[in-house]
């Protein structure tokens, strides 16, 4: 069974990208780090864009084997009402955050499209930049989301290996590999300004995953020339449930992947979340990563109730306060940037779409 479209199953001009990731690569880690650092400095300067996630709801209809919010977990379910969302946003604004990523599980009746669109509008009234990591939508829905003030979406394929994908997504709408694969294209078609891609590292052979992710990015860049592209590097973290990743990714390999993406795609935003340790995050700042999450809570309602002991979607590793984290960046001669957007730039991506 070959479920892969042509643009994903064969690449062009990827010799160097492959070579950078080989177990016996001719490039040392130190060589790649130096090149990646120079490219990052030239293109992005000595700055780091900051954002924070806001979990709107942990209701979910899917059975992803690796996720703490999968529908068979005993996790208590709740969603934030618009008034609660405002309260969370206010708590985030007190931390200086102006760039927010809204998250939900797969589409459910409790957290459906209308709920998400209303939440985007609520967030856009308070924040400069709003993006969404939720369920796959139709072109028309993405268009509505853009009109409500959403600038981009994050959607991970999780794994590009169709067999692993089928096994891990045990039930629910997320079972459909092709549907998920084509989601970033639909979002851009609908007027989203940017899409963030990634694989959940640990699920399948990391070298192979990186290569297919790279092809996916190139394909989107060619097809949608206005698209802003970003890549995240989430590694599986301990969560509710007892899933053990079959292909654990070491710090060395993760660093190598980040350098390879920076070198192959010098202009794209590379993102690292609080899933990673303080030492790894501090070390990678300035070497390739240009965007980081900060002071993250992965529980629903976690900002206005920071004492909650509830377990989130995954366990945060870098739990430093915004202040401590920014101090660490400044120590490295990197300016933390909270506001790097203007809400007047929200709206669909092309002039033909503007109303």
């Amino acid at each position: 069974m070959n479920q892969l479209p042509e643009w994903l199953s064969a690449g062009r001009d990827e010799t160097r990208f492959r070579a950078m990731l080989l177990p016996d690569s001719p490039y040392t880690l130190e060589q790649l780090a130096a090149e990646s650092k120079a490219l990052t400095l030239r293109r992005f300067g000595r700055t780091m864009s900051l954002y924070a996630p806001l979990y709107l709801s942990n209701h979910c209809s899917s059975g992803c084997a690796y996720c703490g919010f999968a529908s068979d977990r005993k996790t208590p379910r709740r969603r934030l009402e618009q008034e609660e969302i405002r309260k969370e946003l206010d708590a985030m604004k007190r931390l200086a955050i102006s760039d927010v990523l809204l998250l939900t599980g797969e589409r459910t009746r409790a957290a459906d499209f209308d709920y998400l669109r209303d939440s985007v509008a609520t967030a856009a009234a308070k924040m400069q930049r709003v993006s969404v990591e939720a369920f796959p939508m139709s072109v028309a829905e993405y268009r509505e989301l853009a009109d409500a003030g959403c600038t981009g979406i994050t959607i991970y394929q999780e794994t590009y290996n169709p067999l692993s994908y089928g096994e891990l997504h045990r039930w629910g709408p997320k079972k459909n590999y092709r549907e998920r694969l084509e989601t970033p294209a639909r979002a851009l078609e609908g007027g989203m300004k940017s899409v963030g891609l990634g694989v959940l590292l640990g699920l399948a052979d990391p070298q192979e995953e990186a290569l297919l992710l790279y092809r996916h990015l190139l394909h989107l860049g060619r097809t949608y020339w206005r698209a802003g592209l970003s890549v995240s590097f989430p590694r599986i973290r301990p969560q509710t449930g007892s899933y053990q990743p079959p292909f654990p990714v070491s710090d060395h390999l993760l660093a190598r992947m980040i350098f390879a993406f920076r070198i192959a795609l010098p202009d794209v935003e590379l993102v690292l979340s609080t899933r990673e340790s303080p030492a790894f995050r501090d070390g990678m700042a300035g070497l390739g990563i240009t965007r980081m999450s900060i002071a993250s809570r992965t529980t629903v309602g976690g900002y206005s109730d920071p004492e909650s002991v509830e377990r989130g979607q995954f366990d945060v590793f870098d739990d430093r306060s915004a202040e401590l984290f920014c101090d660490a960046l400044r120590e490295k001669n990197i300016e933390p940037v909270f506001k790097n957007w203007e809400h007047t730039y929200n709206g669909p991506s092309s002039p033909e779409m503007a109303t």
Partner: protein, 259 residues
């Protein structure tokens, strides 16, 4: 006095500085002071009225003798840029606007169509419009006709440090323009800035090359000196390069000797 005229403004420094990409606001301020720049650009998206520690605009207003020019970087359409320009004028009080529209956030190439549309509207509204453009001689003249006070063609891609990759087009723009031509983007070192000035550019705008230098204030000063030297050389008249070597056998002997 050799002054740069931009609308009703006259400047003695021909170095314009960008303010993004610095490691901190204090390093940026030191670099601006060291550069002697009188015109400094700052992105509206880096204005932050709610978090003074994250704001680039207010600290710049503490430097005497500089005029701030907000820019619309982040806008991807004419409509967004026009809206941003109006907000920026409201917040900064500056009549200048650097129209910067890049629909592709990766390579940050300016969109000539949207830039033209936005510039036309903003010039009519009384802004002193300085559009960041591809090095296209026709577009430059169209923007002059639209009422811009200068054009800012790119030397090469933003942050690329590739220098004056567009030199041939820049020469045409300089030759034909009635408004100041300011090379913006791509300059890596002071010698490249000097070269741009020797070619006859009226000013240069530099950001990355100063911001990511080992010592940004020193680099800012070095750029200022190079720009001044290049300008002086241009005004003094640079000698011609030597011509072709004489052909070994005469090309016009068939004409016989002149009577």
């Amino acid at each position: 006095m050799d002054l740069l005229h931009l609308g009703s403004y006259t400047l003695s420094s021909r170095l314009i500085l960008g303010t993004g990409k610095f490691s901190s606001a204090s390093v940026m301020l030191e670099a601006v002071k060291a550069s002697g720049a009188e015109l400094v650009t700052v992105a509206l998206r880096r204005f932050n009225r709610e978090q003074p520690g994250d704001d680039l605009f207010t600290p710049l207003t503490s430097i005497p003798g500089i005029t701030l020019m907000p820019n619309t970087s982040g806008a991807s359409t004419a409509a967004e840029a026009v809206h941003a320009a109006r907000i920026a004028r409201e917040l900064s009080g500056s009549p200048f606007i650097k129209v910067e529209i890049h629909p592709n956030p990766q390579h940050l190439m300016p969109d000539p169509i949207e830039t033209y549309e936005a510039s036309k509207i903003l010039a009519k509204e009384g802004f002193l419009v300085m559009p960041y453009i591809p090095a296209d001689p026709v577009l430059a003249k169209r923007l002059e006709e639209a009422g811009c006070v200068s054009v800012m063609p790119l030397g090469s891609a933003i942050g690329s440090g590739q220098g004056l990759a567009t030199a041939e087009m820049l020469r045409i723009i300089i030759r034909e323009s009635n408004i100041p031509v300011i090379v913006d983007a791509g300059l890596r070192s002071p010698s490249e800035a000097a070269l741009a000035m020797e070619m006859g550019c009226d000013a240069v705008l530099v950001n990355s090359a100063v911001a990511v230098a080992g010592n940004p204030p020193d680099m800012a000063e070095a750029f200022a000196e190079a720009v001044a030297a290049g300008r002086k050389a241009f005004r003094a008249g640079i000698m011609e390069k030597s011509g072709l070597a004489a052909a070994t056998s005469p090309l016009t002997s068939f004409l016989g000797s002149e009577a």
